[in-house]
Amino acid sequence: MTRAPARFFQTFPFGPRPDQTGEVSGLLDQHRDYVLRTVEERGVRLVRLWFTDVLGNLKSFAISPAELENALEDGMTFDGSSIDGFSRVQESDVLAVPDPDTFELLPWGEPGAAEARVFCDIRALDGTPFEGDPRQVLRRTVKAAHDLGFTFYIAPDLEFFYFEQPTAGLKPQPLDYGGYFDLTTRDAAGDLRKQTIRKLEQMSIPVEYSFHEDSPSQQEIDLRHTDALTMADSVMTFRLIVKEVAASQGVHATFMPKPLEGVQGSGMHLHMSLFRGDENAFYDGSDPHALSPLAKSFMAGLLVHAAEITAITNQTVNSYKRLVPGFEAPVHISWARNNRSGLIRVPIAKKGNPLATRIEYRSPDPACNPYLAFSLLLAAGMRGIEQGYELPEEADANLFEMDDTALAKLGITQLPQSLSDALRTMERSDLVHDVLGEHIFEWFLRNKRHEWREYKTHVSQFELDRYLRSV
């Protein structure tokens, strides 16, 4: 891996957030005013302050409307020591500072007792960005891209399963046995999906498609692109809404990457593009594939660093049971235009629309922390651009049918095979270290190694079935 400094990375650590400069403080005042008036006018009784821990779990505490003005001004102090990946005990208090642009009414409050939520940035008590806050990691990564004139857009395809309420020790029970695009007759899931989409739209999360996926009771909802920070917030909201709506009907929704053996798991394919103002920087009409040199370098960056960032895009032991041949999940680090066995696919844009030119990164699963995953994907792509990485040849053959020698000849390697593999690769990565910062980098490795150790000591049903009698 190259260690030469690049401009994108020299911008770390970042200066003050744009909203800390005097010029826009008037605007922020209006934001605050809007939030406070809305709370008053709509009879909001409870404001939920949301933030995300390092593992991507949504955290929340509620305040009364009377506290809100103070919270918007100075933030709310809370003890971060019990949040995964936050403070060490000796410096446990942190500030949750609401981002007023994310203030919205929750679509399930009772009339007359509405509830609202607002995402928070976490700061140290002295007001500096808190190093354990994943949202700040993404904020400074998109800021670095923005300083170079780029906006990073993401549209995720989110897959998940509906099951009957789980019973400990039993396999999950699907609601139906429908397949891809099936309109199942007893379509309880279809109804859930419809309700979910309505709530998503109410929460400013536009849906592009939704359908029954390949596996029993598996669903897919595709979101329309937004800038990466908005989308990371949206993914957090999305996961909550899907689970809330399901729970209201006595159904369990899960984003576990591979809940059922022998059928496809759940991925979160990410459609990505970089814009320079109004223009799609990935588009070049003169290229036979309509891809600009910049898009190619970005893809090369993703391919070069794919293995290093996999521990973040696929952060559970279970994630690696999805990344196996035969289930439409990528295994090899390669790209192609129309080959779903590769890591990166370049979809053909509808009517050659320049704005729709994009690349699809296929390995992440919906159990990841979207803030950290989006940060690393952007940083890997930007490194490709800045160092002028060469994009390797397109791999349009079915890679699953090739043996190792043939793959080696093409220079195609594999994604990490297990969480342990992925952690080892991540540990050696300057890129991941620089983007996440020392605090999260170190905490994540420690936490995940612990998870791996626990997994290693587990004796599975597979082993009992295989060895108990025969050995």
Partner: protein, 235 residues
């Protein structure tokens, strides 16, 4: 559906005949206007709440145009805001006629300059006329600028701050076509990290929240941008 720009007022345009580029600029900018050929016509066609302003084109028949301007001032005091269009060779005609007009624009004009001057000329006219300055209404959409609340067909709209600001901006400028860049700079007002496509994202959200029945309030104008409400220039 009520046309909000009608409610905002009607412009009298003295020009004989009206130049196509003038008509087109007024339409694209979303103004309601009526061409008048004489003071009698201006008086006969005056809307119930009065003219919002007047544009006098002095490039065709200057003499006649200045006569119109003078009579207009006499009959109206100096309440009505008057914009004069004048050819470069006739700038001298403005001399000693300062009392007859409020602003002028060289003709042939640059549409953006013309629009900017007109907007500036009329910027506080609407407020003075409309007692409900805190409300923006268009069809079934009502925005209360004081409380930041909005309703469509009496149903409250839950919006983020930027969604509200965008809808407010559009509803205050019905019939006009805006590019993404303009919307970004006027509504977000600073270099927003989301970039110009942010506008598309917010328009998409607004349409979803307005509901299917009202989503058409915001029209996409192909390869230009967006327009709120009905076009003044057909479709």
């Amino acid at each position: 559906m009520d046309d909000a720009s009608t409610a905002a007022g009607m412009l009298a345009v003295f020009a004989d005949p009206i130049a196509p580029e003038l008509a087109r600029s007024l339409d694209l900018a979303g103004y309601s206007w009526k061409s008048v050929a004489s003071i009698d016509e201006a008086s006969d066609n005056e809307p119930a709440d009065g003219w919002q302003g007047a544009i006098i084109d002095c490039t065709g028949d200057p003499e006649n145009a200045w006569a119109f301007a003078r009579t207009l001032r006499k009959s109206d005091g100096s309440h009505l805001k008057v914009l004069v269009l004048i050819g470069g060779a006739h700038l001298g005609d403005l001399h000693l006629r300062d009392d007859l007009f409020d602003d002028f624009c060289l003709s042939p004009f640059h549409p953006a300059e013309f629009e900017a001057r007109l907007r500036h000329l009329l910027w506080n006219v609407g407020d003075a006329v409309s007692p409900a300055g805190e409300l923006v209404e268009y069809g079934q959409l009502v925005l209360n600028l004081e409380t930041y609340q909005a309703t469509i067909a009496n149903r409250p709209l839950d919006m983020t701050y930027m969604e509200y600001e965008l809808l407010k901006f559009l509803a205050q400028n019905p019939g006009k076509v805006f590019t993404r860049e303009i919307l970004l700079s006027r509504v977000w007002g600073y270099e927003y990290y989301g970039g110009a496509r942010t506008v598309d994202v917010h328009i998409r959200r607004l349409r979803a929240k307005l509901g299917e029945e009202h989503a058409g309030l915001i029209a996409t104008v192909r390869s230009v941008g967006y327009r709120f409400g009905q076009s003044r220039w057909g479709n």
